[in-house]
Symmetry: C2
Subunit: 245 residues, 2 copies
């Protein structure tokens, strides 16, 4: 049985302030949690699931901190309108854990404010095999339960780190590329094997102090009249171009 | 002064049923309406605007059916929370007006249900210079005031037609390409000068009766693990690949 304090504690992780203090967030639903415990068990700090879930997924009992809960208890700790068998508590990646790989690309997000864009960008990173995303501190909260669920599991496979972007980027030895008006036309640029791709804010683009750290300025050419592309759309075009080569 | 009946009539165009009956929809806001009357005056059936707007935009008085309204009157006919100087009534394109151009591509949407995706796809078409979009009858309503406004003016430059897709596509002489699991890898396919690109529903993809009309089956290769890409994202990658060649 769950204690009142434990219920309160898990509920409190629905709030950003508490998540940030604890460095923990929630992932829910039988399908995603089943995938999590199968493939990424080391990320799980604690698992709460119904009897049915434990019976169907023997790996669940191998999670060190696991607890069987009733449907009623699950409903009390869940952030979903329709709780679904399992809730896992996961830990944040700390900024120190990030390592730029020698042979792949990292995505860096500069002030992406729309939670929908954040979720879409994480799914895109996952589709294109980008395993690391750096967020400036003012990005929409990736660990918000709705954003977590909207990534459809991609949040397990894409590691997200929060960093002071200008400082971080200025310390990197790899190519730092970003979309800038008047940059080199995407499609003529040859992407090196590794680098960091910076995506700017929906309305204002990449901020000046981040802009100053770019080694490569690129531009998605416009063939018609629309004023702009949204941040997730721009990300998709950049990542496809990067990978198609 | 606006009559009660006229106010009621314009208000009624906030509803899809009435819009479809009349073949009319609303576009609002000083910036978009100013662009509309400058570049696409023939699309305007009627214009309502404040004195300030008429003073700043002499072209407004050249619209045959134009009427000066007070701020209060504008507030009564507007669908916006913050009405902004001008409201235009535009006519739908009828299905018969569509003509497949010999040297460019048309986009065909098969059951795109999310209004946000519809708006984004219209903006994408505009960015990539695609001037015609065909929608199946069960697509989200492009003439919904919120969708119209979300296109940020692209709805003026992209002509949208509603058609029975399987019938329409089966009658075309050009390449009909679409995204299908197991199709040819995008990036190796050479797009011809003209054709129709079919984008399928967010969850179910292209329907069987539409699938049967495709002459070219393509696939966006996956480099990671995400299960799917959303419809607007897939559209952006296809259009960029089409244009970059």
């Amino acid at each position: 049985m769950l204690s009142k304090n434990e219920i309160k504690y898990i509920q409190s992780l629905g709030h950003k302030k508490r998540r940030d203090e604890e460095g923990l967030f929630l992932l829910e639903g039988s399908k995603m949690v089943a995938e999590l415990i199968m493939h990424y068990p080391s990320q799980v700090v604690r698992l709460y699931a119904t009897d049915t879930f434990f019976q169907q997924h023997p790996a669940a009992s191998a999670i060190e901190q696991h607890q069987k809960v009733t449907e009623d208890e699950l409903a009390r700790i869940s952030q979903l309108q329709t709780p679904n068998q399992a809730l896992a508590v996961l830990r944040y990646f700390t900024p120190e854990e990030f390592q730029q790989p020698a042979n792949s690309w990292t995505l860096a997000l500069d002030g992406i404010r729309d939670p929908g864009n954040m979720g879409t960008i994480i799914r895109l990173a996952d589709w294109f095999g980008i395993q690391q995303v750096i967020c400036s501190p003012d990005c929409a909260d990736i660990y918000n339960p709705k954003v977590v669920q909207s990534t459809m599991g991609s949040i397990m496979r894409v590691n997200v780190y929060e960093k002071d972007l200008p400082l971080f980027l200025s310390q990197q030895q790899v190519t730092v590329a970003g979309a800038v008006l008047g940059g080199e036309t995407l499609g003529s640029y040859q992407f090196p094997e590794a680098g960091i791709l910076v995506i700017g804010n929906e309305s204002n683009g990449i901020r000046p102090d981040v802009l100053a750290t770019l080694s490569t300025k690129l531009m998605i050419p416009r063939f018609g009249e629309a004023e702009s592309l949204n941040a997730a759309i721009a990300t998709s075009i950049f990542l496809w171009e990067l990978k198609r080569q």
